[in-house]
Every structure is written in structure tokens, then in C-alpha cells.
């Protein structure tokens, strides 16, 4: 899906937990996330801390969209 959308020229950032799969399917901007059933959250945290964690991950994703890349790049928060 990442690839078909990016084919139009739109930059796509893929937020996912299993980075090797993302690399295999051909995502170019990758942000590793927390866990498979809750990529952008962590139920062990307080609601406020969990939202903060999500905010940080999304900020990393936005930064990735602003970053020119030539090849597959993993952006760590």
C-alpha cells in the first residue's frame, strides 16, 4: 500500500513495529513504533504519558516527511 501511494509522488511515512517487513515491502520513510497491537500507544503508561509518547512518534513522522531521502530510511524517535 505504501508503494502504490508513493508511486503518485506523494511522500508516505510508514509507522510500524516490524521494521524488516516495512523494508521488504518497500517503504522509504519508516518510523518504528511501540508494539504490534498498539503501535502508537502503550497501555502500561498513564493516559497523559501515553499521549505524549504518541505525540513524539507523530512528530518524528512529520519530521521524516520534511526530510529529503534518496533511499529507504529509518527515523528513530
Amino acid at each position: 500500500m505504501v508503494k502504490e501511494i508513493e508511486r503518485t509522488g506523494l511522500p508516505v511515512v510508514h509507522m510500524c513495529t516490524v521494521v524488516p517487513i516495512s523494508l521488504t515491502v518497500g517503504a522509504n520513510r519508516i518510523v518504528p513504533t511501540v508494539a504490534i497491537p498498539h503501535p502508537l500507544g502503550n497501555p502500561a503508561l498513564s493516559p497523559a504519558d501515553e499521549k505524549e509518547l504518541r505525540r513524539k512518534l507523530v512528530e518524528t513522522a512529520l519530521k521524516a516527511l520534511e526530510t529529503p531521502v534518496e533511499e529507504q530510511t529509518v527515523f528513530d524517535s
Partner: protein, 351 residues
């Protein structure tokens, strides 16, 4: 030599071990000196040639979330049993299970030098990631093809376990590993090439001796200059849908995607959204779908002027077991709409 009974260690996931489904997918590796689950059929197919001396079990989510640790732990468990061959799966079209089987194969081959036989559906991501390290028998896309898969895997396991010379992947029934092998043929290369060309010109079948790898890579989209002015859309393969799943998107092998209006929605709550995805434990996403689709923080960023605009619609499907052809078709349609709607960048989340 061929009289010696081969020692086999079998690797399976928590589901086939009978530990549980997605709610148990986070169990760490364990080893049992027993034949477990599909091991029963494997034992029957191996007959007198080989015995399963142990079964290593690991939860699929645990394995994928702790790839290196899990590989290490599994290799240490396998090492103690000194097998001649390791059998992993079959994983059919289960993505995380396939990746785990492949990662086990790579670690076992690298660390112990023991060959590994697995079984997967060709679209399983584990095939492309790990085909070099395992003899992967082609299976159907679900456990319905277990009965066909196991005998093929058993036969191949005995062969590689004994170190017998293997024929081509086609002859032996496993998927190509990208290994080039020098062999002697009666006809020299130039003759074979001309024969192939003649066959091609006559529309007759021929088999290449060196298939070209196909790299379907897409150029990275151009970076956006300023996200604070950009219209950003959310897409997910994590199956987030309005509560009740109004379009009845399938929990796996999806035949459709959903497009939902989130104008005015600032938070996905337990009462309003849920996941339709059947390939992961839905508890956390059902409690708070923002954990998969971060609408809440993007709305706040929109209000604070950190992003230009969150696109009015999000697109969603379930990524598990969904064929590559379907996923590509959905994404093509979605992409055309996004472009038409003036979206400038996409955040795609996966579980």
C-alpha cells in the same frame, strides 16, 4: 549413513502449540521435549527416517517485537538437541509467523550451520526476507493446505538432513533461494541460448537458466517543505473502523477498504471506533483507536498550527492475509483520491 535416524527440532508458534490465539501472541520462547500440534502430522510423514526430538514454541508478536533476543533464545534451545535439520512452520500466509520461521532459519544456519526447511504461501513476507536461508516449500494460504504441505516438507527435511544432493527448486518443490549453481550440460551455452531464442520466437515454452531479479522499488516522494502548511492524510492497515464496522471489512483477507469522515472528530474513543483486524489482539485498539490511528494528537497539532490540515477522510483496511494484488488495488484507488483532494503527505500506520 541413511540408516541413521535423523534428529529434527520443530519450530511452531503459540497458536499451533495450543497455547492461544492473538491474546497469547506475546509469549516468549519455550522448548518441549515432545511432538506438538502440526508435529503430529510431521512425525507421521517422517516415518522411520527421522524423529522430532524437541519442539520450540514462541508467540508471533513476541518474536517480531524482540527479533534479536528471540532468535538468540531459540538458537540456544535448538543447539542443545543437536539436530540434523530444523523444520519451521508451516506458516501459510501468516505474516508474523512466516517472518519468525525465516528468522529462525537464518539464525540456525548462521550460528549452527544446520539446514532449515519451512513452508509458506508465496506472498508471505517471510519468503522474500528469508528465502536465502531456508528451503521454503510453497503452501496454500491457509492451514487448509496442511495436509499437502507436511509431506513435502518432511521429504525435503530428510533429504537436506542427510546432506543429499538436491535438484533444482522446481524438482524438489521449494521456492528459489537465489543460489547459483554450476553444472555440466551436454550442450554448450551458445547452443542453449540459441535454442531458447528460437523457442521464444516460435512462442514455445522455454526455461531461463538465470532469472533476472525483479526489484519493484518506488522512488521516495519528495519531502514537503513545511508541514505546518501541509494537508496530511491518515491511512492504516490496522483495521480501525467506526464502531460496528458499518462496511463489514473482513477481519482478514480483506476484499475492500473503508473511507471514513473524521471532520470534527478530535478523539477516537471506545464508544465510537474499534478495529476490524483479526490478526492482532484487538483489546488495546478497541479501548483507544488512537493507539493505531493517531487522530487525537494530529487534531491538537492542527489546532496549534504544527500541521496545515488533517485530511477530512481516513482510509482503512485489514492487512492480515490480504493479497498483495488486493492491497495494491485498494492503494491505487486511495492514492488517486488523495491526489485529487490535494493531500500533500500521508501517514500510514500498520500493526
Amino acid at each position: 549413513m541413511s540408516d541413521k535416524k535423523l534428529r529434527v527440532v520443530h519450530y511452531i508458534n503459540q497458536f499451533y502449540a495450543g497455547i492461544g490465539g492473538e491474546e497469547k501472541a506475546d509469549v516468549p520462547p519455550e522448548v518441549r521435549e515432545a511432538v506438538v500440534g502440526p508435529g503430529m502430522a510431521l512425525r507421521a510423514a517422517l516415518g522411520d527416517d527421522a524423529e522430532i526430538v524437541a519442539t520450540v514454541i514462541c508467540g508471533d508478536s513476541y518474536f517480531n517485537e524482540h527479533l534479536e533476543e528471540a532468535q538468540k533464545a531459540v538458537v540456544e534451545m535448538i543447539r542443545q538437541y543437536n539436530p540434523d535439520v530444523v523444520v519451521a512452520g508451516p506458516a501459510f500466509n501468516a505474516g508474523r509467523y512466516g517472518v519468525a520461521c525465516g528468522a529462525v532459519a537464518k539464525a540456525v544456519l548462521d550460528e549452527l550451520g544446520i539446514p532449515v526447511v519451512s513452508g509458506m504461501f508465496p506472498e508471505n513476507p517471510g519468503v522474500d526476507m528469508y528465502r536465502k536461508y531456508a528451503y521454503i516449500v510453497e503452501t496454500g494460504n491457509s492451514a487448509a493446505s496442511m495436509r499437502q504441505a507436511i509431506p513435502k516438507m518432511a521429504k525435503l527435511a530428510v533429504k537436506v538432513g542427510r546432506g543429499e544432493e538436491l535438484g533444482t527448486p522446481e524438482e524438489e518443490g521449494y521456492m528459489e533461494r537465489g543460489v547459483r549453481k554450476n553444472i555440466f550440460l551436454d550442450k554448450r551455452g551458445s547452443m542453449r541460448a540459441v535454442e531458447m531464442l528460437v523457442a521464444k520466437l516460435n512462442d514455445q515454452p522455454f526455461t531461463t537458466e538465470y532469472p533476472m531479479p525483479t526489484f519493484d522499488r518506488v522512488e521516495p516522494g519528495k519531502a514537503i517543505a513545511d508541514v505546518s502548511k501541509a494537508k496530511i492524510a491518515l491511512v492504516t492497515s490496522g483495521g480501525i473502523v467506526p464502531k460496528g464496522n458499518p462496511d463489514r471489512i473482513e477481519s482478514s483477507s480483506a476484499s475492500k477498504y473503508g473511507k471514513y469522515d473524521i471532520a470534527g472528530v478530535s478523539d477516537l474513543t471506545e464508544d465510537t471506533y474499534e478495529t476490524a483486524h483479526g490478526g492482532y489482539d484487538p483489546t488495546y485498539a478497541n479501548e483507544d483507536s488512537d493507539r493505531v490511528l493517531p487522530v487525537d494528537v494530529l487534531r491538537e497539532m492542527e489546532a496549534a498550527g504544527k500541521i496545515g490540515e488533517l485530511h477530512r477522510y481516513f482510509y482503512t483496511t485489514t492487512g492480515n492475509g490480504t493479497s498483495v494484488a488486493n492491497a495494491a488495488k485498494f492503494a491505487k484507488e486511495i492514492a488517486a483520491e488523495l491526489v485529487a483532494d490535494g493531500v500533500q503527505a500521508v501517514i500510514l500506520t500498520s500493526t
